[in-house]
Amino acid sequence: MRMRKRHSRLKNKIIAKVITRFPSLAKGLIDAYTPRETEGIPWTPVRKPLSESIVGLVTTAGVHLRSQEPFVMTDPDGDPTYRKIGRDTPSEELMITHDYYDHADADRDINIVLPVERLKEFAREGVIGGVGPSMYSFMGHIVGPHLYTLMNVTAPAAAEGLLKDGVDCVLVTPG
């Protein structure tokens, strides 16, 4: 069983490398994983000018602290949990666990999936009011029963965290 899981992780990683290099090959995979159509669109109006707004950062790129539990990669339905990461964490303390995209470039510069340094620059320049104290990191590729957990347990918990953090708006980035 363990052997099969290892093989399947390797297969996922190889596929991720190939489709990043040759995006046209990704079409079949994208079709296979296209999510169900959702109903309605939630909407909250922007209330503050950007220059006064604290911007929160949320990613589904599978980023976490080296000291945190990695995302579970052996479950084909994904891992619906999230990791909370302090805004001022040095990038050397961050890593990515996510077999479904090629993160070799993001491993070199985390800002291409989690643009925290760029947001801090904009805060210093006064383009935005500030950056939320915590970032919330999920992994994408969540299907099956974990979707329920994501939508009803873990994403709401992150949203409540963002409210407590006092952010005025949120940027969400994929992997």
Binding site: P35, E37, T44, V46, V58, H103, I112, L119, V170, P174
Partner: protein, 86 residues
């Protein structure tokens, strides 16, 4: 990604997402999105390309404050590795 975004927006926080798979975004319907036809794992562009990363963020900010119709996807026409960013 769009699903998490929808939950956060539902909690009363305005959100904007960056998408690299338009087909998913069309189905999931997050409130505000900028779409780039770039490879997986590179929503903000290339490593250490600060100007490019900043340009994408400015597009996202523009979408956040400018979009008035829920579900709007802004198509950013920048080609992968074929643009110059100041």
């Amino acid at each position: 990604m769009g699903l998490v975004q929808r939950v956060i927006e539902g909690y009363g926080i305005p959100t904007v997402g960056i998408s690299i798979v338009r087909q998913y975004t069309e189905k999931v319907k997050p409130p505000r999105t900028v779409f780039l036809r770039w490879p997986f794992g590179h929503p903000l562009g290339e490593p250490f390309n600060r100007a490019q990363q900043r340009a994408v963020l400015l597009k996202a900010f523009e979408a956040l404050t400018g979009i008035t119709v829920p579900g709007t996807i802004v198509d950013v026409p920048w080609q992968w590795k074929r643009e110059r960013y100041e």
